[in-house]
């Protein structure tokens, strides 16, 4: 068998046998399952009660006495705050509000509750708002206008193609979910796969195995075999995660399942996903090999590598900015910058259309960086892998690269 293939096989099997790898591969679907369970439990808990909720109110303006039923909430009038407080303590009502005499000029409403909370629940807030609005407008405008004032608009955006047709890919918050999850998994997987390369090469250096290996294979065969073997294991991990998604969806509640079934991800998103996973992985794996070659210990190598990994996760820090301005020049630059490109392009693909020239430029820069990195890694491996205990300075590395 070809020696590169032998190293590939050895690295693939060693990686998938690692306890950390097995735990991580199955932990993610298990965590997702747990999250679904928690969602079910929480939605049961926060489900609005079947019987009507009574909210007390003291109206000092004497003008809020109609339309006391808002959804499943009923507004019960009290003459004084003392009466309302008594009813609250006796649990006749769940809370009460005071509409002061100067409400029209101030808009201020005082709310009283028994249990501390961070903010009023949206359903309660909405019910109070509608109660106030409908009373203020009652008799002055038609019920249809009252309804419109309560829920003024439902903005439905349609993206058109340059020719005026309806675009096949429409935006929307829902469409961010899968690209967001995918990009997160991509960053996660890139980080772990390249950590395995780093650890593998670092351990071989620390265990003094490198010279034994290099007496049988070339530095290039060693790096190719290692990077592809560990990469295949990383890909297998992603495949397990992707396969588990439909199973998890089936297990999910009808509400989540319903939401997710509305999401439409175009096929080319998945194609780009695989391409960027492979390119991104290769880039970080080659970078890991370079770092392992020049570092004296695995720990030191991990420290240096984590600096570069920041670039891949950085797009998540600016997620909201990215969501509202996905085509800003800064994102275009970072979509071409190789270390941030894989995750950033995938996020942008979920949010907006990325122009073809940007995709081509980003992939070309990634491919060139990988090719250059591989040559550099093989060269540095030969030079520095046999140096133990001392990390070369940047000046020494540059001088050695120049000398070839």
């Amino acid at each position: 068998m070809n020696k590169t293939l032998l190293i590939f096989k050895h690295e693939f099997i060693s990686t998938i046998r690692r306890k950390g790898f097995i735990i991580l591969t199955f932990a993610l679907p298990v965590l997702a399952l747990l999250a679904i369970g928690i969602f079910h439990f929480a939605s049961d808990v926060i489900k609005p009660p079947a019987e009507a909720v009574k909210i007390g109110y003291v109206d000092e303006t004497q003008s809020f006495n109609q339309l006391v039923s808002q959804g499943n909430m009923v507004f019960v009038s009290f003459n004084s705050s003392e009466d309302a407080t008594r009813a609250l303590i006796e649990k006749d009502i769940t809370e009460y509000i005071i509409i002061p005499y100067d409400f029209i000029s101030t808009g201020l409403i005082q709310r009283y509750i028994l249990q501390r909370e961070v903010a009023p629940p949206p359903a309660t807030q909405n019910a109070i708002k509608n109660f106030i609005t409908s009373n203020l407008l009652a008799g002055k405008v038609s019920p249809a206008i009252v309804t419109r004032v309560e829920a003024p608009l439902n903005l439905l955006t349609t993206t058109l193609t340059p020719t005026g047709d309806v675009a096949s890919k429409q935006g929307g918050l829902l469409n961010l979910i899968i690209p967001g999850i995918f990009s997160f998994l991509l960053a996660f997987s890139l980080s772990f796969s390249s950590a395995y390369v780093l650890q593998g090469l670092g351990e071989e250096k620390e265990n003094r195995l490198m010279e034994i290996l290099l007496s049988s294979v070339s530095a290039r065969q060693l790096i190719f075999g290692k990077v592809s073997g560990i990469g295949a294991a990383g890909l297998a991990q992603v495949v397990v995660w992707v396969i588990s998604i439909p199973i998890l969806l089936k297990l999910a509640s009808s509400s989540i399942g319903g939401i997710l079934s509305m999401i439409q991800i175009p096929v080319n998103f998945w194609v780009f996903g695989i391409v960027y996973f492979i390119l991104g992985y290769l880039l970080f794996a080659v970078l890991s090999a370079i770092i392992a070659a020049i570092s004296s210990t695995v720990r030191e190598a991990q420290g240096i590598a984590s600096l570069f990994m920041l670039f891949s996760i950085a797009p998540f820090w600016f997620y909201s900015l990215l969501m509202f301005f996905p085509n800003s020049p800064i994102w275009i630059i970072f979509s071409i910058f190789p270390f941030s490109a894989p995750v950033l392009v995938m996020l942008r693909l979920g949010m907006t259309g990325v122009p073809t020239w940007q995709l081509i430029a980003s992939m070309a820069v990634l491919i060139l960086s990988i090719a250059g990195g591989l040559l550099l890694a093989a060269k540095l491996l030969r030079t520095y892998i046999l140096m133990y205990g001392k990390r070369p300075t940047l000046k020494e590395i540059i001088r050695n690269i120049k000398r070839g």
């Binding site: 068998m1 020696k3 032998l6 190293i7 050895h10 351990e203 265990n207 003094r208 195995l209 010279e211 034994i212 290996l213 290099l214 007496s215 049988s216 294979v217 070339s218 065969q221 030969r382 030079t383 046999l386 133990y388 020494e396 001088r399």
Partner: protein, 298 residues
């Protein structure tokens, strides 16, 4: 055709000379000692032979050709800085590393069993490397070096860290390999091992060859022209000697340039003393080493 032909190789690191104009050859069926003090350039020379690092100039031929990926399979190399995958089982380590030398899994396993049995370590076959003592894991590294029956075996400080029993075991295997027609290069600074095992040697210091040839020839070149005598009785002036050095348990008689040890023995017998020991004094390789290296350091 020589197993190894090294011709005027040079290597420098950041302006510091590691190896300079070094030439030597190693034949099949011999154990060749590459000796020298620490930092002399032995390991650098070996790494250049193994194509792990490239010489700045000069040529190296292994079995008549430049080292290639396929000819690497003819080589067995035990480096000075060595180790194994700590979490792997002994047998898996041997099979994987021998597969990189072109061995099939089945034949590697059979040969591993044979070698492990030979050194009474078959019971460790399924143990993890991290469970073995340092000496035991070194024996496994030695097995990895020779399992694929290489034509050329390069051993860099093979005895360091081994107990006397394992040292003897290894020595016997090395001699067997030589007798099977293999070329063995032994790099060490343990002179007693070189004296016991090597047919020829090359001493290097500061990257340059300072002494070379067969062991016998080198020892005769550095003969001290004296005899060692352990006796009973009274010893006066012995004709043909210039000095008598008394040492604990024996005396050393320094001969003048015209007298041979044979003549001195005849004269001693004629004096009537009882002779318990008489031998021609030769310098040990260690003394020669110190003498040569010391001279070069001056």
């Amino acid at each position: 055709m020589s197993a190894v032909e090294v011709n005027l190789i040079n290597k420098s690191y950041a302006g510091k000379v590691a190896v300079a104009d070094l030439s030597f050859s190693v034949a099949r069926n011999e154990i060749f000692g590459l000796i020298g003090p620490n930092g002399a350039g032995k390991t650098t020379t070996i790494r250049m032979m193994m194509d792990i690092i490239k010489p700045d100039s000069g040529q190296i031929a292994i079995f008549g050709e430049e080292l290639s990926e396929s000819s690497k399979n003819k080589l067995g190399y035990l480096p000075e800085e060595r180790g194994l995958y700590r979490k792997m089982r002994v047998i898996d380590s041997i099979i994987y590393l021998s597969s990189l030398k072109g061995m099939e899994k089945r034949s590697a396993e059979a040969r591993a069993d044979e070698l492990l049995n030979k050194i009474n370590m078959l019971s460790t076959k399924n143990k993890k490397i991290e469970e073995l003592s340092r000496g035991m894991s070194q024996i496994i590294q030695f097995i990895v070096t020779i399992i694929h029956e290489p034509e050329l075996i390069i051993l860099d400080e093979p005895f360091s860290g081994l107990d006397p029993v394992n040292t003897e075991l290894l020595k016997q295997i090395i001699l067997d390999l030589r007798n099977q027609g293999k070329a063995v290069i032994l790099s060490t600074h343990q002179m007693n091992q070189v004296e016991e095992l090597c047919d020829r040697l090359l001493m290097i210091n500061n990257g340059r060859a300072v002494l070379g040839g067969s062991l016998k020839e080198i020892k005769s070149r550095y003969r001290s022209n004296s005899v060692i005598l352990d006796f009973e009785g009274k010893l006066g002036q012995v004709p043909g000697t210039t000095e008598k050095r008394t040492q604990p348990g024996y005396v050393e008689l320094i001969l003048d340039k015209k007298t041979t040890p044979q003549q001195v023995l005849e004269r001693l017998v004629s004096t009537g003393i009882i002779i318990n020991r008489f031998e021609v004094a030769t310098l040990s390789l260690n003394e020669i080493f110190l003498k040569v290296v010391g001279k070069n350091h001056e």
